[in-house]
């Protein structure tokens, strides 16, 4: 161990030290309000005009809430189902993860239906690779080309075999 005390020269060293500071945050500012449970004077309640999924571990919506991306489609059906289970349950979280993945496909379908072909390369930020990480980009392109190549070869072999036996 170093035993020089140079560190005491660091700007602000020890300025917030407070050996009496116990209990520390987050239990520091205990007010006793906990024993009144959920009986605080609530803020005015936001008017609900989109579907909000509510955790079943609370009696009602929070006074304000976000209204981004309400549940839709198949992912929405799964999300609604997930909210029948508490935050304590895999029944809640695993379906939500599944819904997230399905939602990605729905997003692509939505794009196409709006006449937008998602530019997946651009969305993955590969331009940055081109600038700063050419090696990795080349590797990614090569791996994808190789995978594609193998798939094409397999498919064409399958076809040949089919025609051979068929």
């Amino acid at each position: 161990m170093e035993d020089n005390k140079d560190y005491q020269q660091i700007s602000g060293w020890g300025i917030d030290a407070d050996p009496e500071d116990e209990p520390n945050y987050p239990i520091k500012k205990y007010t006793g309000d906990d024993h009144n449970r959920s009986n605080w004077e609530r803020p005015q309640l936001q008017v609900q005009d989109v579907e909000i999924l509510k955790s079943n571990e609370r009696p009602s919506l929070s006074a304000v809430f976000g209204t981004a991306s309400p549940p839709t489609g198949l992912s929405g059906v799964i999300r609604r189902h997930a909210f029948k289970y508490s935050e304590n349950s895999y029944g809640h979280w695993l379906p939500l993860l599944l819904a997230d993945r399905i939602n990605v496909v729905e997003g692509i379908i939505e794009d196409l239906s709006e006449g937008v072909i998602p530019n997946i390369f651009a969305e993955r930020g590969w331009k940055a690779d081109f600038k700063y990480n050419k090696g990795a980009l080349a590797k990614k392109v090569l791996i994808r080309a190789a995978v594609l190549g193998v798939i094409v070869i397999c498919l064409s072999k399958k076809k040949k075999r089919k025609s051979f036996f068929g």
Binding site: M1, E2, Y7, I10, S11, G12, W13, G14, I15, D16, A17, P19, D21, E22, N24, Y25, P26, K28, K29, Y30, T31, D33, D34, S38, W40, R42, P43, Q44, V47, L53, K54, S55, E57, R58, L61, S62, A63, V64, F65, G66, A68, S69, E87, W93, L97, D100, N103, V104, E106, G107, P118, N119, E123, R124, G125, W126, K127, A128, K131, Y132
Partner: protein, 382 residues
């Protein structure tokens, strides 16, 4: 307006969306001038957080100008330039009254374990965030804070999350003068935690990461020791040795669920999602702290389960303290430290992007390209 638009893991773009409107009398609408990407956003970007919906706008570290206020907003006025803490907090519930602004019970309908956070999935309330030209800010009299005269806007921006989070990580460590503090992670949060550990009187600060450029940065910026776990065979053994076979007084997890360093944790936590992220850093923190020591966790994990050596927590008598940072609570003290020159947050900003280049910005920060430490989106001034 133009806004970041999440399309799925590793896929984001900037696209047009309707402008936000006032939905509650305590709302304000902020025209964003600067907005960061955070290590927390990477957990969303990597698909680790359940109920992250396609079409959402991320962003919880932003500042800007008030352009509209609801009928029940009294402290803010149109034209004010404000920094906005990442926590959405009502100021009235039992938790807010205890200054637990990260644990507000009136800002998130969809989960009780976490308060509302801007742009942080539906699990944190379903709010569109500030990586956009405009954003709706609820409880505008509680969180948003007018930027003090003379403060650099970049410093103000980092007060929305990174500085308070690093500071609170050190604070929760209960550092006593003379303590040895180990910080896992040399990202923006770990760097700030290392810097702040000195303010509490640490005698030795050690940072662990595997990105050489970040270790180099933190060594200079925070006057600390910094070691690459990639070249240490066993980081826990190393830390035991270097603390006279005793263990550190305080260990801080500033990594969270995207941790590297243990193949099993990476596979089960980040690839198969059998855990709520990889718990490698937390595992190391528990095993490197002294008996009776304190582990302070600010690294973010998902809502399910993680593999950590809880038996060692019991047998060593470890105290674990953790939370989302309570930004509003810490602002007065941190503004003071910045104005007095004791903290210089803006030095960690390495990259600036226009919102149009959001995809490159995310990829660059996620893949740690071009020695990226902290990327900032700068909105066009139209």
């Amino acid at each position: 307006m133009l806004a970041m638009n999440y399309r799925g893991p590793f896929r984001v773009r900037a696209s047009e969306k309707p402008d936000p409107v006032i939905l509650h009398p305590e709302d304000a609408i902020i025209k964003v001038t600067r907005s960061c990407i955070c290590g927390s956003d990477l957990h969303l970007y990597h698909g680790l957080v359940p109920d992250t919906r396609v079409g959402m706008t991320f962003g919880h570290e932003f500042m800007g100008t008030v352009v509209d206020i609801g009928s029940d907003v009294h402290k803010l006025k149109v034209g004010d330039t404000v920094l906005v803490p990442f926590n959405i907090a009502c100021g009235k519930c039992a938790f807010c009254k205890q200054e637990l602004y990260g644990n507000c019970h009136e800002s998130n309908s969809q989960a009780t374990a976490v308060g509302g956070i801007f742009g942080y999935s539906h699990t944190a309330g379903g709010y569109d965030g500030g990586q956009a030209e405009y954003v709706r800010v609820p409880y505008a009299d509680v969180g948003p804070t007018v930027i003090p005269e003379g403060m650099d806007p970049d410093d103000a921006l980092l007060l929305t999350d990174v500085v308070p989070t690093g500071y609170q990580a050190a604070e929760m460590g209960g550092i006593k003068p003379g303590d040895t503090v180990v910080v896992f992670g040399a990202g923006p949060v770990g760097i700030m935690a290392a810097k702040c550990a000195w303010l509490f009187g640490a005698a030795r600060v050690i940072v662990i990461d595997h990105l050489e450029y970040r270790l180099e940065f933190v060594r200079n910026y925070a006057n600390c020791e910094a070691y690459n776990f990639g070249s240490l065979e066993d980081p826990v053994l190393f830390l035991k040795k270097t603390t006279d076979w005793f263990g550190a007084d305080v260990c801080i997890d500033a990594v969270g669920g995207d941790a590297a360093g243990n193949a099993m944790q990476t596979l089960t936590g980040r690839k198969l999602l059998l855990q709520a992220g990889s718990a490698t850093a937390l595992h190391w923190a528990i095993n490197s702290v002294k008996k009776g020591g304190i582990v302070s966790i600010v690294g973010v994990y998902g809502p399910t389960d993680n593999l950590i050596p809880i038996g060692n927590v019991v047998n060593k008598g470890i105290t674990i303290r953790a939370n989302q940072a309570s930004v509003k609570r810490l602002l007065p003290r941190l503004i003071d430290h910045i104005m007095a020159g004791r903290l210089d947050p803006k030095a960690i900003i390495t990259h600036r992007f226009p919102l149009e280049e959001i995809a490159e910005a995310y990829h660059m920060f996620s893949a740690k390209l071009d020695n990226c430490i902290k990327p900032v989106l700068v909105m066009s001034a139209k």
